[in-house]
């Protein structure tokens, strides 16, 4: 009787302890979001939200101050689009190769290597961009700035490539073998099977991998801080120096901006925009996965 009771108490203690661990990360997230919202609100008490969202000059550190976030969003989107243009075709091609063409032996070697790419610290990618990609770009485009969006886009593209190829390959390999055999039995070539049967059947997983990868590119910080420069501007020229939202947050966080000043509060407002963008993309990715999930059987 007594033993039973201690056992029950022990079980409930264990359960509570585990619950506490699970709650810890949820509470942290809620805390972060709350701080973000709170500080953002106090920023908008001083700067009209309309000026923030539609202004085309970002100069909180200089007099007269300007708080238009569009140049930072522009810079962020340039990096995201540039990285996507590089990573999507390469990612799809390597996923098709690994899933449909390579022998098991090749796949077992190449896939882990690709995944190691994802484990390299982003700061390493950053100085790889500055010390290798940028000089290379300047060979072809001598006018390119030392810090430029192209170099950062390329390096971020390389960073998100394993994500696209690995997730897309998983999606393609989960397409049932029976579908492939059905297509082969009609006299399809391997390329026709890959592009007309497997790719469409795996489309939801592939699209979801794009969105996740782009969301990663939007949030990427270290490499773009190093390679893309610190010049917030409205431009579409990839060979100029720009600034992304993340890079701006780094710049202010490292500087000696007084706590509680309006300059300091900008990073929360910018962080909020960033958070909203990546959250939206993650939701889109989940929605795509649900909405376009092919039912094969």
């Amino acid at each position: 009787m007594d033993r039973l009771r201690t056992q029950r108490i022990r079980e409930s203690v264990i359960e509570k302890a585990l619950l506490l661990c699970a709650l810890a990360s949820i509470l942290t997230t809620i805390g972060i979001v709350l701080v973000l919202i709170f500080e953002t609100f106090s920023f908008f008490e001083e700067v009209p939200i309309l000026e923030f969202l539609t202004g085309t000059t970002w100069a909180p550190m200089y007099q007269p101050q300007h708080f238009g976030v569009l140049p930072l969003i522009n810079g962020t989107l340039m990096i995201a689009v540039g990285a996507a243009v590089i990573a999507i075709p390469l990612g799809i091609a390597s996923a098709v190769y690994l899933s449909e063409y390579s022998s098991p032996k090749v796949r077992q070697t190449v896939k882990p290597v690709l995944e190691i790419l994802a484990g390299i610290p982003t700061v390493v990618y950053g100085y790889f961009a500055i010390s290798f990609i940028t000089p290379l770009i300047r060979v072809f485009v001598p006018d390119a700035n030392i810090f430029n969006a192209a170099s950062a886009s390329i390096v971020v593209g390389i960073m998100i490539l394993p994500m696209i190829s690995s997730l897309s390959e998983d999606a393609m390999r989960s397409v049932p073998r029976a579908l492939r055999e059905g297509a082969y039995a009609l006299g399809s070539t391997r390329f026709e099977v890959s592009t007309k049967i497997v790719l469409p059947a795996a489309l939801s997983g592939i699209l979801a991998s794009f969105v996740l990868a782009i969301s990663r590119a939007v949030g990427e910080t270290m490499a773009v801080t190093l390679a893309a420069g610190a010049t917030p501007k409205m431009t579409l020229n990839f060979f100029e120096s720009i600034q992304t939202m993340t890079a701006y947050i780094v710049q202010v966080s490292l500087g000696d901006t007084p706590l509680g000043s309006i300059e300091y509060k900008t990073i929360f407002a910018v962080g909020m925009v960033l958070f909203a963008m990546t959250l939206l993309m993650n939701i889109i990715s989940m929605w795509i996965k649900e909405r376009y999930r092919e039912v094969y059987s």
Partner: protein, 248 residues
């Protein structure tokens, strides 16, 4: 009667494991040949050799000869071979596309442009006895069809590339009795134009649809002859044991 398919001393291996041993067999044109035998006897391996489907498996190799209308299959490009030797699988495997696109897939990859497609889709669905059930909803997803309809769709899909031979790998094992009898009626109907080979676990099915039957055991062709003879008066003891259900 001419032989549509001939195999001479055909042996096959998956890696080191031998799956077929010296199978020599002539399959008649415009007839249905049933291949029966217990699980693992090599009957699926045998028909998958005929359209070189097993080439897709690592470590698979064959020895001996396979002739399709007197041409060695190894001298034919597998893509070309599979155009004239269609296959219907154990589990219905429609593509996750519309009914129309499923049928149009084969003709399209073989270079037919959109003009001829409507006609070929209709013709194939009619031949597969599915037209009346789906003619109003060709753009619906094929996954919405019932299992039996899906299997007839797969037959129509195979017919659309105009093969001369159709291989059926246990086509009814995932279907209910009514759907099964529809497929069997269809096979009898298709006899006029096509040479058919069916692998089946179901001996009544073999007896109902086939003209000739081959009995496989441990990778060997034990007995081959007219279906009536095989079922009424088998020459081999093991054939008789299998047919009356003593094993398998």
């Amino acid at each position: 009667m001419t032989a549509a398919i001939q195999t001479k001393n055909l042996s096959a291996w998956y890696g080191n494991k031998q799956a077929l041993k010296n199978v020599s067999m002539d399959l008649e044109e415009n007839r249905i040949t049933a291949i029966i035998g217990p699980s693992g006897c090599g009957k699926s391996t045998y028909i998958r050799c005929l359209n070189r489907m097993n080439d897709l498996i690592d470590g698979f190799r064959t020895q001996g000869e396979i002739l399709i209308f007197n041409k060695d299959v190894r001298s034919i490009d597998p893509v070309e071979l599979r155009k004239s030797v269609g296959m219907v699988f154990q589990k219905p495997n429609p593509f996750p596309k519309s009914i129309f696109e499923n049928i149009a897939f084969g003709p399209r990859i073989h270079g037919l442009n959109n003009n001829g497609l409507d006609a070929i889709v209709e013709e194939s669905l009619k031949k597969a006895a599915l037209w009346d059930e789906v003619s109003e909803r060709l753009n619906d997803n094929a996954m919405e069809l019932s299992g039996g309809q899906q299997q007839r769709l797969c037959i129509a899909r195979a017919l659309a590339v105009k093969p001369k031979i159709i291989l059926f790998d246990e086509p009814c094992s995932a279907l209910d009795p009514i759907s099964t009898s529809k497929i069997e009626d269809l096979m009898l109907e298709l006899k006029k134009e096509y040479t058919q080979v069916i692998v089946t676990h179901n001996m009544q099915q073999a007896a109902r649809v086939s003209d000739n039957t081959g009995f496989f055991l441990y990778g060997e062709l034990i007995e081959y002859g007219g279906t009536r003879q095989i079922f009424k008066k088998p020459r081999e003891k093991s054939t008789e044991d299998y047919i009356i259900g003593r094993f398998g």
